[in-house]
Amino acid sequence: MENDAFAAFYERSARPLWAYLARVSTDPALAEDLMQESYVRFLCAAGAPSLADEGEAAARLYLFRIATNLLRDHWRRLRAASIEEIPEELFAVQGRFAQSDSQILLGPALDRMKPRERQLLWLAYAEGYSHREIAEVTGLAAASIRLLLFRSRRKIAGFLRAQAAPVGREP
């Protein structure tokens, strides 16, 4: 891949990728590391889609897939480690996002969701990916995405309403 083409692709795709990783992992520092590793693997991968031939959308999907696999590996390593070996900070909510209205509402709701649910919701409602694209990124069966997404959406909508309710009652 030519340097200029990569720089342009990076400029357009890096922020959405970081946002996805940061929101799903709830750890901005981890998101930064995983994002860089995703791009390096993308550049080294022999089977990565070419920007010129297959287009930016295919390259972006491939990049999100690499990032998703890295996240999964990270969680697997955490699970494999003994509970005594995991630093205490990891149990706390790690997000240090700006406290805007939507973040105040969405942050706690996302923290109560499972990582897989956070992935599906972000890809569908923040990135606007179709069920087929989500299946490609996550490696799940396309047929099960609809049901999983429906359940996740209902669950987080419940959390969002529950959080918004006390605020709404105030004068």
Partner: protein, 171 residues
């Protein structure tokens, strides 16, 4: 819980994606959303995630694409070096195996034809002062045996050291 699709979901999704929800929506559609659970979930979740995405994108701290290109280049080079050195390692292991085989063959040959040092080894526990006997027997029996044995053991020690080094270096 089975997903129940509402025919208005597509329309609502399009309005949200174009940023026209709820202002440009027909009053009937807004009334429907407030009554339909699936559509109200969709509107709430989509709006919240889209707003959170816009805010999260601004928080990303990106490294220069040049750094990623350099890291990828370095990784590709390391992989190429590893691919090149793999046959060399194989050749080294093969050479070691052949040498050891030759050594074992030589020892077997010596044992079959009877050498003074074997006799001396058998008599070793029986008393002290056998070294002199062995030395004199070796010299008397075959000076050639000594000339071969010493380089043989020296080679074994040397190759053992190389093997240990290779294992440590590999780790």
């Amino acid at each position: 819980m089975m997903p129940r699709n509402c025919p208005h979901e597509k329309e609502i999704r399009e309005l949200i994606e174009s940023g026209q929800w709820p202002l440009a929506a027909a009053p009937e559609l807004r009334a429907h959303v407030s009554a339909c659970r699936a559509c109200s979930d969709l509107a709430l979740v989509s709006e919240t995630f889209r707003q959170a995405r816009a805010e999260t994108l601004a928080e990303a701290r990106l490294v220069s694409p040049g750094v990623l290109l350099w890291r990828a280049q370095l990784r590709r080079r390391n992989a190429a070096v590893e691919r090149l050195t793999r046959p060399l390692l194989g050749a080294q292991i093969f050479a070691l195996a052949v040498t050891l085989l030759a050594g074992v063959g030589f020892a077997a040959f010596e044992a079959r034809h009877g050498v003074a040092w074997l006799t001396w080894l058998e008599q070793l526990p029986q008393g002290a002062g056998r070294w002199d006997n062995f030395f004199s027997a070796s010299l008397a029996g075959s000076a050639f045996t000594w000339m071969v044995l010493f380089p043989f053991f020296a080679t074994l020690v040397l190759l053992g050291g190389v093997a240990v080094y290779m294992v440590m270096d590999r780790r």
